[in-house]
Symmetry: C2
Subunit: 161 residues, 2 copies
């Protein structure tokens, strides 16, 4: 079976063409030990192997202050995945799940999100643990993990005290 | 000050033009009580007001099974934000932080991520709590919250047991 074009039993694809509503700009690249898709673990672990987030030099200064956070949220673009599946059969057994009820890379916008442990920052390179994507995956965002982050701007009248 | 074009004290923007490396397709829309950017809370709360995720009818079947998850991860496109800031001064006091050390909507790819509590599913409409974005924000993805999700596919040899 050609996994990129063929449907598994009971899988369902959308028929409309891909719309292009907004543009993503890649900000760097993820380096991991996993060269082929089959090698990648299904879910990253905080005690997994060290991986690198290589930020493009033009965005390097945007890392200023990131070392204060022990955990980061990382967004990346899973460019190898098809984007038209509505129902998927992850076990290839005819039982399907809706795409939004899965964390599969196959989704209308193949954006992966991981929470990683930040080990160190060296220039434009962040060494982290907790990823599960293929080596060379395009990087699209890095943010402090939500529970560790306190907004820096003044509170708004609508904010809970 | 025109917040969309002017820099605050010590803020720094990138000079290169926006590159367009990949295309996002909107899958629906977020409805919230906040009509203006200033009205939005800085961080969503699980006991915040009910909001709706309106999924385009063509993607509705991709929601199948989502009601099994009490919490979801939601990705949306903060289309009003500038995308070229490297250093930002959230308090407008001359002190800056790198963009990747903030969860500000101003970032190279203005993708917001929230963890929300799923209240109910009615057709193509999910009622949730925990959002903080403006009414009408384009929706780009919905996934089960990572800690609640167990991969449905067979384990791989590389997966920890």
């Amino acid at each position: 079976m050609n996994k990129d074009t063929d449907l598994r039993e009971n899988e369902q694809a959308i028929e409309a063409p891909l719309s292009e509503d907004a543009a993503i700009q890649f900000i760097g690249q993820v380096r991991t030990p996993w060269i082929e898709r089959f090698d990648c673990p299904r879910q990253g672990k905080m005690d997994g192997p060290e991986c690198q987030l290589i930020v493009e030099p033009r965005w390097q200064d945007a890392l200023e202050g990131i070392e204060e956070y022990s955990q980061l949220e990382v967004l990346y673009w899973m460019s190898l995945s098809r984007r038209d599946l509505i129902r998927q059969s992850p076990r290839e057994d005819g039982r399907t799940f809706g795409t939004f009820a899965l964390r599969s890379p196959v989704r209308p916008n193949p954006i992966g999100t991981s929470i990683v442990k930040l080990e160190r920052v060296e220039g434009n390179v962040l060494t982290v643990r907790g990823l599960d994507c293929i080596d060379g995956t395009p990087l699209i965002d890095i943010k402090p993990e939500r529970s560790l982050f306190t907004p820096k701007a003044r509170p708004k009248p609508t904010d809970p005290s």
